[in-house]
């Protein structure tokens, strides 16, 4: 299956400190970031900023699934935002899911019900772009990918950016978030899998998320092996370079 290249737009909301829309693999997510702002008394922490993530589904009101995603994102994003620079503050990230990929095989009205993993990369990517747009100080950037292990004639193979159908038939699926330095930030898996399969999925995801970071040091590799997915670091960099160049044209 071919997936269109990721698309992003920064600073689309006029009133928030930072915002971004990210479109990839059938998902469209818009995020707004406000911060550092005053935290509610109960969220206040004397030594660090509280990162508040709110996920709103494409249809209906959020439920347990959204709360779960929020808690995953909150803990991963607190790791990359320099929270200790803003004690007693709040950094608020609102993620509105605008569209999710349709399953061509099942006729369903209920878009909400389903597994959580495949949406994590889109949410993380959008949140990171919006944080960059808001110029919230961060230790590093992050990129995310989802890998499905699908049965293929007796054995299994890892599929990057699986379609809804592949996710349904997959033995297991894994979501990974990596920092730009190649450190693992979040790993969520579901289904039955062996350690070898997990290692394989991890290696594939690492390649997609951190390729550009490593390329800098080495001599140019002339596409001798086919890239499994989009180079997310290069995508992030080119998006931000476009934004910065536009902002600083007066110089």
């Amino acid at each position: 299956m071919t997936v269109a290249a990721p698309e992003a737009n920064l600073g689309i909301l006029p009133k928030s400190d930072g915002s971004a829309t990210f479109k990839y693999g059938g998902y469209t997510v818009t995020a707004s970031v406000n911060g550092p702002i005053e935290a509610a008394r109960r969220d206040e922490h004397p030594y660090k900023a509280h990162v508040d993530v709110i996920v709103r589904p494409a249809a209906g009101a959020g439920g347990t699934r959204e709360r779960h995603l929020e808690s995953l994102l909150e803990s991963s994003l607190s790791q990359i935002i320099l929270v200790k620079d803003f004690p007693r503050c709040l950094i608020q990230i609102v993620l509105q899911v605008e569209s999710v990929p349709a399953n061509d095989y099942v006729n369903t009205k209920l878009v909400q019900a389903g597994i959580n993993l495949p949406i994590i990369p889109a949410l993380v990517q959008t949140a990171v772009l919006a944080l960059l747009s808001a110029c919230v100080p961060m230790a590093t950037t992050a990129a995310a990918a989802v890998i499905a292990v699908v049965p293929a004639g007796g054995s299994t193979k890892a599929v990057v950016d699986p379609s809804q159908r592949e996710l349904e038939t997959a033995v297991s699926s894994h979501a990974f978030v990596f920092t730009a330095h190649g450190q693992l930030l979040l790993a969520e898996s579901q289904g039955d899998f062996t350690m070898a399969e997990w290692e394989d999925a991890h290696a594939t995801a690492n390649k997609i998320c951190c390729e550009a970071a490593k390329k800098d040091g080495m001599e140019m590799i002339l596409d001798d092996e086919k890239q499994a997915g989009p180079d997310l670091q290069a995508f992030l960099r080119s998006t931000l370079e476009a934004k910065v160049t536009e902002d600083l044209q007066w110089r």
Binding site: S16, D17, G18, N34, G35, P36, I37, E38, I80, L82, D85, F86, P87, R88, L132, A134, C135, V136, P137, M138, A139, T140, T141, T179, A180, H181, L236, R237, L240, E241, K243, V244, T245, E246, D247, L248, Q249, W250, R251
Partner: protein
Amino acid sequence: MAAAASPIVLPGDAIDPSLIPTSNKKRPLRLGPGLRHVPPDTLQSTVAGELITDPKKNTMYIEYNSRRYIASPNDLVIGQIHHSSADLYYVTLNPHAPQALLPHLSFESATKKTRPQLDRGQAVYARVAMANKHMDPELECVSQQTGKSEGLGPLSGGTVFAVSLGLARRLMLPRPREDGGVAVLDLLAEEEGLVFETAVGRNGRVWVGSESVRTVVVVGRALAEVDERGAGFGEEAQRKLVRKLVRETKA
């Protein structure tokens, strides 16, 4: 004026040692906004922007445009009185952020008996006297050295407009038209003959005062438009905009 080869950096990028100015041995290296020192000897950026180095002053910082102001000492800001306590005014610099403190005695020739009476909502032009991540910022409207106001104090009449922090900094340059590429104020005054005064705060606030309400509106709209069009909005385009605005508002 294009800054020669100032690299664009993303959060977490290590600054190449060759970019660090070394010519001036007398002064210690000073790091400005957007940079942090990771012990023992790494310099990292924390925001996406352009790395600017000044070998003469031995300083480095990241130039970027954002909307949320983070107070730092000696910045000139425009705040709004929120409320007053026994000996302090609480001043809003940013929406939803903790208020800054302005002592009643931090005005020119203020004593316990004669202190300025400022109402809620009054705009003040002040300098950030102390900014510290663990405390609310403190302001002053008087120079500590000379005891004079030096242009600081309440801003009466006129209107405060919000702009992006990047535009505010451009307006605060000694020559905004030549160095910052913002010509609208000069054009409005010189070519259209409007009479007005302005004060620019680093927190992204511009105060415009004039006898005529029409002038205030025209200036505010011109600034908002320049901010919205981005940094690539050249002087000729600004001249067209000024003419259009003046024509539209003619009674």
